[in-house]
């Protein structure tokens, strides 16, 4: 008998494999993960791009908007983690998993890990589209590694939040509602239009919500701009979300599986 942690890692790998395989078989999933990022990028650069000025930053719009689009591309798919978890929890699958000799937590964890793999790949597709459309970053290898870490951290935090939501609701339809939050959050940030153009209340929200520091940090890294305190604030938000969501998800999972 191998050690419990090696066994759990193997179980997690099998469940991640299941999730990725499922994803390739659902047309919506494929579209969300491949076509959607490209379409969002095209829309912002060509449809809105001509009409939006980037204010005092003086950047080309494509350079301005790429960080937000990378997050949108990964975030939408991450939000759908709530749906896949709710489907497992409300159908018979969870009974099957629970009568197998595995730790229950690997079931939601498998969905979260698969979501990170899938959605970081979606962000990469969006980035490739941006480069084709004329995005010219000025970043060192270290900068790229940090950008990857930020995108991964964002997708992980969103997937973990989605997992909490998916364990909280009692149907996969209700679980789908979480996508709206993730879809609209970037609009009220400094990522798509400069927040300084927004009316007072929205501007305050935009400056103080987590996406603005994440986007500003990514911009600094990608374009070689000076970085203020945004990196520290971004890291705090992401780490905080993961540190809060993981134990909450664990408690919810235990409650859900104990009371039925």
């Amino acid at each position: 008998m191998s050690s419990p942690s090696i066994t759990a890692a193997g179980d997690l790998r099998r469940l991640v494999g299941r999730d990725l395989r499922r994803e390739l078989r659902v047309l919506d999933g494929l579209i969300v993960n491949t076509a959607l990022p490209v379409m969002i990028m095209l829309m912002f650069v060509y449809v809105f791009g001509g009409a939006i000025t980037t204010g005092s930053s003086g950047l080309d719009y494509i350079d301005f908007v790429v960080p937000a689009v990378l997050l949108m591309s990964g975030g939408y798919g991450a939000a759908l983690t709530a749906v896949t978890i709710a489907e497992d929890m409300t159908g018979g699958m969870i009974d099957r998993f629970r009568t197998l000799p595995i730790s229950g937590w690997v079931v939601p964890a498998g969905h979260v890990v698969a979501s990170v793999i899938r959605n970081v790949a979606s962000s990469a597709i969006a980035l490739a589209a941006a480069l084709l459309l004329g995005f010219r970053p000025d970043a060192t290898l270290t900068d790229w590694a940090l950008v990857l870490a930020l995108v991964t951290g964002y997708v992980l935090a969103m997937s973990a939040l989605a997992a909490v939501w998916g364990l909280l609701v009692r149907s996969s339809q209700a679980a789908g509602a979480f996508s709206f939050v993730v879809l609209f959050l970037p609009y009220v940030s400094d990522g798509i239009v400069p927040a300084q153009t927004m009316p007072g209340l929205l501007r305050d929200f935009a400056y103080n919500q987590p996406l603005t520091p994440i986007i500003e940090t990514m911009r600094s890294l990608l374009l070689g701009l000076p970085m203020g305190s945004s990196a520290a604030v971004a890291t705090a938000w992401l780490a905080g979300a993961v540190v809060v969501c993981v134990p909450v998800a664990a408690v919810l999972f235990r409650r859900r599986t104990a009371s039925r």
């Binding site: 066994t7 193997g10 179980d11 099998r14 469940l15 494999g17 299941r18 395989r21 499922r22 078989r25 659902v26 159908g91 018979g92 699958m93 009974d95 099957r96 998993f97 629970r98 009568t99 197998l100 000799p101 595995i102 599986t257 104990a258 039925r260």
Partner: protein, 314 residues
Amino acid sequence: MNVIHSTPFTDAILARGLTKSFGGTRVLSGIDLTVPTGSLLALLGPNGSGKTTTVRILTTLLPPDGGTATVAGHDVTRAGPQVRRAIGLTSQQATVDPLLTGRENLELFAGLCHLGRRQARRRAAELLERFGLDGAADRRAGTYSGGMRRRLDLAASMVSAPRILFLDEPTTGLDPRSRAGLWSVIRELLASGTTILLTTQYLEEADHLADRVVVIDGGRVVADDSPAALKRQVGSERLALRPANPADLPRAGATLPAAHLDPGSGELTLALQGPDHLRHTLDLLHGAGIPIERVELRTPTMDDVFFELTTVAA
């Protein structure tokens, strides 16, 4: 191994006084069950009688409020992991992934039972053949018919080669042919030494498969007997009689004290013990001067079973 099982258990499943309430509603009020190793026990009851709750407690999915249960010699509340290693469960809902093929489902579950990759592949192929699914092995489970999906569910429960199998209404909603197919699979599993507890709403199913039948109603055991003894009580067939004049119904009831009167349909029904009993019954009614408009033979329904069992107990 022999240290752990120094006292070999002869009962694979043993439950005493199981109780469970949900939000103040009592679902189980003291269920006792004994399933000897290698036998099949049918838990027979209508919807809402507590069958599924009992199965969920015995498979460690739900803690009981009171009472004790051991499965494969392990206490279900204190030794969940050991119990889970010994059992397989096919619950009423689909417990396979509809987006994966039959083969992929079985290989996934085999992997999660910690079989090696090659071993898992072999086990999946073996089960697909055994359950007659080799032709559909590489189709997505979501495209399977009801009968095929149940067989895949059953195969998934057998991946770990459990000694004890729980089947929660395995044939509900299946057409007669799929049901017969599933019955023969269940009989084979029993013949190969698996202990089985199955729940059903069908008396016929319990009669076909079970060594022993426990009838539950309202969270209580109302009968615990062999199928033969139960059938003797209920009658393998029900005789339904309708007096030509509905006003004769009470008088007919007085003539046949074992009959159940249904003023709604204007009928009285009783367990039929054979051809002589039929003639005798008609003779009695004729002697009492009650003309009969219609005579019908029926297979007993769950209602008939409960009528017989509750009146016998009363």
